[in-house]
Structures are given as structure tokens and as C-alpha cells.
């Protein structure tokens, strides 16, 4: 019970059971597996966002990076093969994420404000570039979401693989350790000899690269890219990360939490979707779930740590 991730895990199971009971359309495992293709893209964004938030930052521009990459990739890749197209998308995303990181670290500006501005800039570039047009995706990179590997659609496989890889980077590599330290106390991190700026920029760039992959998946799925796609997806990604127990103040969080939270959101949205619950109710429920999940983990953590003394922390209650 020491790991607060059991809250989203239990919520996932509960939601799954609820919809399994309520809706026959939900009682369809192949459908549940195949329907993951859309949220897998958001999931890829949430993986990168986990790194950024753990390092004590935030990136509000992820949706705009997604859209600009999705719009630029077909233009630049033309009819190139899929691997080349992916590479281009990854590079584009990494550069945009990296630019965010560079401005934040070098100008010493809060990430919230910088990415608020780049959110408008990246989407603005997409709009200025395409205007009323759309970018057509070459036929050879279309339809990734219809191919499957081990019975799972490719986007889901990609999402799970990267969740694992980045999860390992976060919890088993030096970079991940640095990010936790930077998010906890960036000054102490500097004194401890962490390359604070470089690690922060790397986190943003890695997140950008993952968004590039998400953009590729999106292009492949839609066959076309438009500058007005996916508004508000950044909030969805942040919601997944935070509901998974990553502390918005930085220094605390796990990839398992993000993954479980993604699963929770997937069951909730899919279940509500096949039951045709009205969009406005869906909004309300997702807002509630975020609050419940975070509150639950807070309570769980405080219960778990209640047995430990906290002499340096002030408590307002005895």
C-alpha cells in the first residue's frame, strides 16, 4: 500500500467492471483492444509530459507541437518511406520541444509562460503555412492503426513500448535520477553537479520526440493533417499524468502511474462513448475522476506515511 498507484489501478478495475456490467457494447475485448488507437497518441504525449512534470516544469504547447509536426511531416516527407517519415516527425518534435527547453533554461523563464507563448506560436506556424488547406499524407504511411502486432494495433504497441522504455529511463537511468532531483530542488541539483539545463532540455526534447511519433500515428490514422486539429489535447495529456500520481510540483511520480491512469481514462471515455453519454456529462465525469484519483492518492500516501515521524515538517494538526 506504499505505492499510491493502486488508486488509479483500482479505479480502472472498478470502471471497467461498471461498464462491463452496464453495456453490452463494452463487453467486447477485441473492440476494447482495437479502439485504443486514438488515446494511444495522447498516451505517448503523456509519457513525455511525465518526464517534464517530474522535472518541475510543464509544457502547454504539446498539442501545438503535435499539430505542427503532423502538418509538416507530410510536406517534408513527401512520398518517402515510413521509417523516413517517422524519423522526420521525431526530429521535428524533438526540435520544437528542445526549443521550449532552451528558452526556459537559458532565459530562466517559468515553463508555464514560455509554453503558453509557444503554444500559440507552433499552432500559428501551422495555420500560417497551411491556411485553409490540409496536408495530404502519402498513401504508403497511411493505416498504421489498422495493422496489428501480437493482436494489438500498432499505435498501442508503440505506446506500450515507449512507456516501458521511457519508464526505464526515468527509473533506471542517470537522466531519470537527475530529473527527480531537479524537480525536487533545482538549486541542490546544481550543487550536486547535475547538468540541470541539459537534463531539462533533454526532457523537453524527448517529450517532443514522442509527440513526433504521436503525430506520425495521427497522420497515418487520419490520412490528412489540418492546423485546427486536436485542440485541448494538452490538457488531456496533463490530466492523465496528474491523475496517475505525478506531483504537479515536481520530484514525484512514476511511469506506472501514468500508464494506469491512461488505462483509467481509456475505460472511462470508451465506456461513456459506447453508452452515448452526453459530451457535457463526460466532461463533468472526467473532471471528477481527476479530482477523485488525486485525492485518493493523497489520502493513501498520508495514511502510508502516518507511521513515520516527520519532525521537520510542520503539521497544522496534532
Amino acid at each position: 500500500m506504499k505505492r499510491p498507484e493502486w488508486i488509479p489501478a483500482i479505479l480502472s478495475i472498478a470502471v471497467f467492471a461498471l461498464f462491463w456490467y452496464l453495456s453490452k457494447d463494452f463487453r467486447d475485448i477485441p473492440y476494447l483492444i482495437s479502439n485504443t488507437t486514438i488515446l494511444a497518441e495522447t498516451g505517448l504525449m503523456a509519457i513525455g509530459m511525465t518526464l517534464i512534470i517530474i522535472a518541475g516544469n510543464i509544457d502547454l504547447s504539446v498539442g501545438s507541437i503535435l499539430v505542427l509536426t503532423a502538418c509538416l511531416m507530410p510536406k517534408l516527407a513527401g512520398h518517402a518511406s515510413a521509417p523516413v517519415a517517422i524519423l522526420i516527425a521525431v526530429l521535428l518534435g524533438a526540435v520544437m520541444g528542445g526549443i521550449n527547453g532552451i528558452i526556459i533554461t537559458k532565459a530562466k523563464l517559468p515553463s508555464f509562460l514560455v509554453t503558453l507563448a509557444t503554444m500559440a506560436i507552433y499552432r500559428g506556424i501551422a495555420k500560417a503555412m497551411l491556411q485553409a488547406d490540409s496536408a495530404e499524407v502519402a498513401p504508403n504511411v497511411k493505416g498504421l492503426d489498422r495493422l496489428s502486432l501480437l493482436g494489438m494495433p500498432y499505435p498501442l504497441v508503440i505506446f506500450l513500448v515507449f512507456a516501458l522504455v521511457i519508464g526505464l529511463v526515468l527509473h533506471r537511468k542517470v537522466l531519470g535520477r537527475w530529473l527527480f532531483g531537479i524537480g525536487t530542488n533545482s538549486e541542490a541539483a546544481r550543487y550536486a553537479g547535475f547538468p540541470v539545463d541539459r537534463a531539462t532540455i533533454t526532457a523537453f526534447a524527448v517529450s517532443g520526440a514522442l509527440i513526433g511519433i504521436a503525430a506520425f500515428c495521427m497522420d497515418s490514422r487520419l490520412g490528412v493533417a489540418r492546423p485546427d486539429m486536436a485542440p485541448g489535447i494538452e490538457l488531456q495529456a496533463i490530466t492523465i499524468v496528474v491523475a496517475g500520481g505525478t506531483a504537479i510540483s515536481g520530484g514525484k511520480g512514476t511511469m506506472v502511474g501514468t500508464l494506469l491512469s491512461w488505462l483509467l481514462m481509456y475505460f472511462v471515455t470508451t465506456g461513456m462513448g459506447v453508452m452515448n453519454i452526453k459530451a457535457e456529462y463526460q466532461l463533468t465525469i472526467i473532471g471528477l475522476i481527476l479530482i477523485v484519483s488525486v485525492f485518493g492518492q493523497q489520502v493513501a500516501t498520508s495514511i502510508a506515511s502516518h507511521r513515520l515521524p516527520k519532525p521537520t515538517k510542520l503539521s497544522t494538526k496534532p
Binding site: I103, A117, L235, G287, L290, L314
Partner: protein, 321 residues
């Protein structure tokens, strides 16, 4: 006036002069009206957001509070078309206050971080907005003239009208500025924002401060919701106040309220709102093509931020020498 506000004022003035040089229309009374009309909603909500940011918090749900207040007041007008203007504002403010208290309670007593709480209530309140009106929009015929007139009449000086809405918002600003200077409560807010644990040890109740700040943000959001009806004459549950949260937070942050808490001024907030108003109206009147407006808007904000960072750097070096 401090460094920070002077710098911001300079940026606003330079921008205005540059725009005027580009196009004389910029100082046309119509255009000044347009800039002045752009401000009141944003300013009202920003005034509430100001103490929240000072205590190291954030209220992202403000856009949905504006929306819910606008729609709820509109729905009420369906059944009670004769409600007086002060009553409408009082109702809007009360609705906002209740939502703000809900935010405050979740943050203070359930101890859920402010960002998380208010991202959650952003969608939650938006959902409630749809439920309140059953998804219907508030048609213009429901919004009485006595309310909309506030947006286009006021004090007119040389063809430029300072609308009642703006006067009201500025009054709120002045009251806030006075309170910030002369009230014990705001003293506590600044102290709490500067050093929360020290504030607690000095006998300031963190719960009271937090509850009050979020309640205040909700209150001004509720007022801004009624202003929304007044300014636009109609409201839809989807678009009323939607996206305002980013504008409000941007104007407070650009206005020099430290996002890490503890300092900031009402004047800065007013100037931050003015800067955003000037940029947004300039985009229109200078005929920036629609497809380029988002880009130019983003670049302007980024440049404003970088100038600020640069001036901070210069100041720091000056202090060290």
C-alpha cells in the same frame, strides 16, 4: 510605481506608438473604444486571479466559472426577465463565489494541488454549464437592454467612450489596489505568498487565506460572467468564457505578478490586461491576415517575456556591481 510597472507601461506605449505609425486608424476613437471594451471582462477576472497567484496558487477553472455564471444568469432571465442589473451582478457574483469556495475547499481541506483541482473543475464546471441550460444557448432576446447598454455607454471623452463595464472593472481594480495596500487581509496574502510556513508561524491561518483567495477569484469570475452577457448580448454553453483561463493567467503573469508567489501589484495586472488588449486589437486593425494572427500573437507574448527576462538580468547585474 516600480521598475516592473514602468517597463510594462513603456512596452504598452511603444507598441501603441508603433501601431499608430503603421496605421493612423489605431488612434481612431472607434479603435480606442474597441481596446477599452476588450479589457473589462479580462481585467475583472484577472483581479481575482491576482491574489491567487500571489499565494502561489492558480485558478485554471476561471474560464468555466465565467461561462457557468453567464449561462446560469441567462437561464434565470428566462423565468425572471425583470431582474434588475445590480441583482443580476449579485447573482452572478454569488454563483462565482460558490464555485470559488468549492475550489478553495478542495485545495485547502482536501489538499489537492491547485493546478489539479482547477483543471478538474475547469471541465466539471463546463459540464455543469451545459446541464444548467440543457445545451441551449442564451439568445439575445433574453438579455435585456439595460444590461447590454453597460457595454456601450459610459463616460465619453472626445468621442472615446469609457464603458460602464470598464469603469466597474477599474473600480474593482482601485478597490483591490487600496485593499492590497491598506487591508490586513491582503497583507496576510502577501506574507503567505512570500513564505507560507513563516506566515503560519506568525499566526496567519493558511486555510483562511487560501479559501478567501479562491472565493475571491470565483467571485470576480462570476461578475465577469455577467459582463460577458452584457458585452456580447448572448452566450452559448460551449463558448462562454472558454479559453479565458489562459488569457487571464497570461495577463496576470505578464503584469509582473511573480508566478512563484509573494509579489505583484494591481497596477501591473491592469497593464498586463492593457497589453493583451492592445495586441489583440492591433492584430485586427493592422489587418494582420487571419492565418497569421495566432503566430504573431504568440511571438509578441514570447518577446514580451524575453524583454522582461533580459531587463531582470540587467537589473541583477546592476545590483551586483
Amino acid at each position: 510605481m516600480k521598475w516592473r510597472e514602468l517597463g510594462l507601461l513603456a512596452v504598452v506605449i511603444v507598441l501603441c506608438v508603433a501601431c499608430t505609425m503603421k496605421d493612423r486608424n489605431f488612434i481612431d476613437p472607434h479603435n480606442i473604444d474597441s481596446i477599452l471594451l476588450w479589457m473589462p471582462l479580462l481585467l475583472t477576472a484577472a483581479i481575482g486571479q491576482f491574489p491567487v497567484i500571489v499565494i502561489r496558487g492558480i485558478d485554471i477553472s476561471i474560464g468555466s466559472i465565467i461561462g457557468l455564471s453567464a449561462i446560469a444568469v441567462g437561464v434565470l432571465l428566462k423565468s425572471h426577465p425583470d431582474l434588475g442589473v445590480p441583482m443580476l451582478f449579485a447573482i452572478g457574483a454569488t454563483i462565482g463565489l460558490i464555485l470559488g469556495i468549492l475550489n478553495g475547499a478542495l485545495i485547502t481541506y482536501a489538499k489537492i494541488p491547485a493546478v489539479v483541482t482547477t483543471i478538474g473543475t475547469l471541465t466539471l464546471f463546463r459540464g455543469l454549464t451545459y446541464m444548467v441550460c440543457g445545451g441551449d444557448q442564451i439568445d439575445a432576446s433574453l438579455v435585456p437592454d439595460r444590461l447590454t447598454v453597460l457595454a456601450h455607454s459610459g463616460i465619453t471623452v472626445r468621442e472615446v467612450t469609457v464603458s460602464w463595464l470598464l469603469i466597474f472593472a477599474l473600480l474593482l481594480g482601485i478597490i483591490t489596489a487600496l485593499l492590497a495596500r491598506f487591508s490586513q487581509f491582503f497583507g496576510n496574502v502577501f506574507a503567505y505568498g512570500s513564505n507560507p510556513s513563516a506566515a503560519y508561524l506568525r499566526g496567519i491561518s493558511p486555510n483562511k487565506v487560501q479559501m478567501a483567495c479562491y472565493a475571491l477569484s470565483g467571485l470576480t469570475g462570476g461578475i465577469a460572467g455577467v459582463m460577458f452577457l452584457s458585452r456580447f448580448g448572448n452566450a452559448s454553453p460551449a463558448s462562454a468564457g472558454s479559453g479565458f483561463e489562459l488569457l487571464v493567467i497570461a495577463s496576470v503573469a505578464i503584469g509582473g505578478v511573480k508566478i512563484t508567489g509573494g509579489s505583484g501589484s494591481t497596477l501591473g495586472v491592469v497593464l498586463g490586461c492593457a497589453l493583451l488588449a492592445v495586441i489583440n486589437v492591433a492584430l485586427v486593425v493592422l489587418k494582420v491576415p487571419a492565418d497569421y494572427q495566432t503566430l504573431v500573437y504568440g511571438l509578441t507574448i514570447l518577446i514580451a517575456l524575453l524583454i522582461d527576462a533580459l531587463s531582470r538580468g540587467v537589473k541583477k547585474q546592476g545590483a551586483a556591481a
